[in-house]
Amino acid sequence: MAIIERPSTTPAVAGSAPSFVGPADAYGAFRRPVTSRGWRSWVFTVDHKKLGIMYGVVAFCFFLVGGLEALLIRTQLAAPDNTVLSAGTYNQMFTMHATTMIFLFVMPMVSGFANYMVPLQIGARDVAFPRLNAFGFWCFLVGGIFLNTSWFLGGAADGGWFMYQPNASHLFSPSHGVDYWALGVQITGIASLTGAINLIVTIINMRAPGMTMWKMPIFTWMVLVVQFLLVFSLPVITVALFLLTFSRVFGGQFFNVQAGADPLLWQHLFWIFGHPEVYILILPSFGIVSEVLPVFSRKPLFGYKFVAFSGAAIGFVGFGVWAHHMFASGLGPLSVAVFSVGTMMIAIPTGVKIINWTLTMWGGKLRFTTAMLFAIGLVIEFTIGGLSGVTHAVSPSDTQQTDTYYIVAHFHYVLFGGAIFGLFAGFYYWWPKIFGKLLNERIGKWNFWLMVIGMNLTFGPMHMIGLQGQPRRMVVWPQNLTGDGLFNLGFWNKVATVGSYILGLGVLTFVWNVTRTHLLRKGEVAPLDPWDARTLEWMTSNPPKEHNFDAIPTVHEVDEFFHRKYEEVETDHGVRLVKTRSAEEILADQEAHADAHIHMPSPSYWPVVLAVGLVIVAYGVIYSVLLAVVGALITLGASFAWALEPSTADPSDFDPPAGTPGKELANV
């Protein structure tokens, strides 16, 4: 049974034409799909929750691919002058490892969480543009597959994820790998850009009554900041990628020195995107731990407004520090000095977050669930990554460190210990919400400790390896540069490799936990409010109904759900916090007062067709103009069909039929 958008029968603007296109007067060739079961209910869905799950599943698959690439890299580097991978394959491997982890895992995984959680956290029934949301997901999926097909079609990109010119030009990288990369990242960029517009509009316009900006859950805040970062930074990489594609495919001269261009143009364009990108990757995880720490400390987030502001400040200042990736590229002392000081400023709002998380736990009542462990793990590991970050801000010091393993250590502490630990905290915290089952906590602890130990063994030694002179992106390291003593660089390279296997084992433990919970059906059914949570997404069933809330709640507090459960009571021993209502009671109350007109968007065929059209264009750009034209026609046709399809499904498809009040709807 599907709940589908029901047409309004009154024109939106009095006196003008009706604002909807009914099935009868549609120009579209097809009716809207209405299947609520089987694969069609997923492929044509516009439901933010289904899309969120699909984002998550696909992104996690890419995480495994990227992880496999990482393990191959570490295996190659286990011994001096090793020959597991050839130089060419190695270069492709590290390029695709970074590309996969950034564009195909962390960003879409965040999209998954944001898609799923933001409407629930703000008390909305879906996002503002549901079809655009579906389009974003399909762009990500086809873009990711497109990128990885390059492995089988002449080799993947080999220019590093930063694709510096002219090394990634056609002359110096003659395979199609970089073409695949530029077009693939372009297509996944569409996913992020449409998602960003969608979430911004959703967050600004669709919050439940009473939820002012300063009552929004902090995860939603961080998602909002990140979407603004995306809107401002993605166009820059979009332009850069077009320049790259035109240079390679159509003989453009944008970076060609002989034609009077300057290859540093690419670096500036890339890092003006690339640095905000770092915050795009990390801020959502900051949001997640800012949800998890208060729940398991049973205290509100310390300095909620400071945390929100510092997130925005990090995002804002993040646009002014891109050249710290270029301290060695010959900018001149004045630019270097300015960007050094600018980069140091980032440490201030970042430090604010660490302090607030610590003080959130202070005086709390801490429960060490797996989600909480990952959150605490983030605080620790990110602190290490943040402090090594400060050492790079000291630009003379950075000219020693840049392009060495010290940098690799730094950003893996930030991105693995930060972003990915945050995502794992999110997995364990929101799993019961999304799937209605609890992940096993005992396996979860194994998962956490294997990952913590594995990541510190992998990336910890890289600090030393780098500071003692081993550069990155090297297919081999020679014995004669490793120094003397037992603890020479060769030893630490071996430790890092062993660590990476432990880390891989940690990730497999998670896979096992999920398999056991769902495929082997050993997962415990989640209670309604397993963590005694604080925010709106927990004020509905597990998993939520298709329309999220039977009745849209009116919000009075930052932690609305918590304050509906608990009250402060004066006793002889001072003020005490007493639980006065259970989650079940709150939910029953909601059901009893269900909204009358629940308005849900209809599924659509066109987002997926449009995305597939784009990927055909991309193959066409590489192989054949004819193919590109076919793809363009599909894209164009799908755009028109999208615009002209009926805005709702046929009335007979409604469930329950039009005319009955919404209360039954709420009970499907």
């Binding site: 270069n91 402090l387 030393m464």
Partner: protein, 418 residues
């Protein structure tokens, strides 16, 4: 182990926090252990960034050491705070905390503190940036050109550097020979893609960007050999693009200059004479040997621009005066002879270095493998198919398909190029 999920009504049952704490302490111990190991690990790593051997690297070191110490102390404070909180506030069935939202002073205080601390780091940082950019005290200029996958050094005619100056240009590759205790300015350029010149003990790195000239100050306190690597990813054989700086005392450097600018010496040994002809037939189209003439007495000028994308190939006029080859990756010296030179005392180094590579000390195996099939030793874009698809230009040295006796002849000739 009991499950860790409290039902909403019951006070939460926590999962043996003592054990968790113990593990956490264990983790802290591991971290401390790593730090301790850091202090004692990898002695004498040739590219250690904390062992400056020149003025510029020392300026960086003086700046970065306090920053690392401060960062370390802050890190330990945060770990200690989190560790204490985890122990102190774990759920022992205590009352639920009152739902306060924080105190602004606890926010603003650390903000002001950290801003002050960063100012303390920022001021010396800016000062060092400008100090390192200074070029007015230069005593010697070398043009350093990167190309896939080796470095070329050109000493332009100049009044400085050696006693009496440099009167005719010198072109070498791989090992940059400089006078010690002298402000050398490297003018860094590139012939193809972006590379980066990095000798950690002498200074930080500076990119070689095509179309630009970037300057990098290099000064060695003492004679010796200082290793480095190309640190900007430059394609297939990025890992095999290395370099060294050999710093000589001034007198020996002057000798080196005289030797490099000396007229061509025809080989006298019969094997080497045959080798010269073989060299001319197979190598001279790319590799220049200054002053070499054909049988008609016409000087032979190499034209690498006709064969190689970067338009250059290493000048081999004095190959055996350096002790590494092929991007400074392989030794021309046998391990025993190499050790003697590379680990010589500063006061003995210049003399030993100037001895160059003798027949007895020649590491013939690697050189022979290289001449036989260079792309097999160091991956390059130089197969027939790759050259054909690239307008007849290769990137790196192709497999010349030489016979063993030809290789021997070439080596016999090269060993005379000191």
């Amino acid at each position: 182990m009991t499950r860790n999920i409290p039902s909403p009504e019951v006070a939460p049952v926590h999962d043996s926090p003592r054990r968790v704490t113990r593990r956490r302490v264990g983790l802290a111990a591991t971290a401390t252990g790593l730090l301790v190991a850091l202090a004692g690990c990898a002695r004498n790593a040739p590219q250690d960034t904390f062992q400056p051997a020149g003025e510029n690297a020392r300026s960086i070191d003086n700046l970065q050491r306090p920053v690392f110490y401060i960062a370390g102390v802050i890190g330990i404070l945060v770990f200690a705070a989190v560790g204490y909180i985890v122990w102190r506030f774990k759920d022992r069935g205590q009352e639920l905390p009152i739902q306060g939202h924080g105190k602004p002073i606890l926010e603003i205080g650390p903000i002001v503190l950290s801003a002050a601390l960063l100012l303390g780091i920022g001021v010396p940082t800016v000062a060092t940036v400008f100090k390192l950019a200074k070029t007015s005290d230069t005593q010697c200029v070398v043009i350093v050109t990167g190309q896939q996958w080796w470095w070329e050094y050109t000493y332009p005619v100049q009044p400085g550097c050696a006693a009496g100056g440099i009167k005719q240009p010198i072109v070498t590759s791989g090992q940059l020979v400089v006078p010690a205790k002298t402000h050398v300015l490297a003018e860094i350029q590139s012939n193809d893609v972006i590379h980066s010149y990095w000798i950690p003990k002498l200074n930080g790195k500076r990119d070689a960007v095509p179309g630009r000239t970037h300057t990098l100050r290099l000064e060695a306190d003492q004679p010796g050999i200082y290793s480095g690597q190309c640190t900007e990813f430059c394609g297939l054989s990025h890992a095999r693009m290395r370099m060294q700086v050999a710093a000589l005392d001034q007198a020996h450097f002057d000798t080196w200059v005289t030797n490099q600018t000396a007229p061509y010496q025809k080989p006298t040994d019969p094997a080497a004479i045959t080798g010269e002809a073989t060299f001319q037939a197979n190598c001279s189209r790319c590799h220049q040997v200054d002053g070499m003439a054909d049988s008609a007495g016409k000087p032979i000028i190499s034209q690498p621009e006709l064969y190689v994308v970067s338009g250059s190939a290493p000048n081999l006029s004095h190959l055996m005066s350096r002790n590494t080859f092929a991007g400074a990756v392989w030794d021309l010296l046998t391990p025993a002879c190499r050790d003697k030179v590379w680990h010589a005392k500063p006061e003995e180094f210049s003399e030993l270095y100037l001895q160059g590579v003798s027949r007895e000390c020649l590491n013939e195996k690697d050189l022979r493998d290289w001449i036989r099939d260079a792309p097999a030793k160091k991956p390059m874009y130089s197969s027939d198919a790759q050259i054909a698809s690239n307008n007849g230009l290769s990137r790196g040295m192709p497999n010349l398909k030489l016979k063993d006796d030809q290789i021997s002849q070439i080596i016999d000739y090269l060993v005379t190029r000191k």
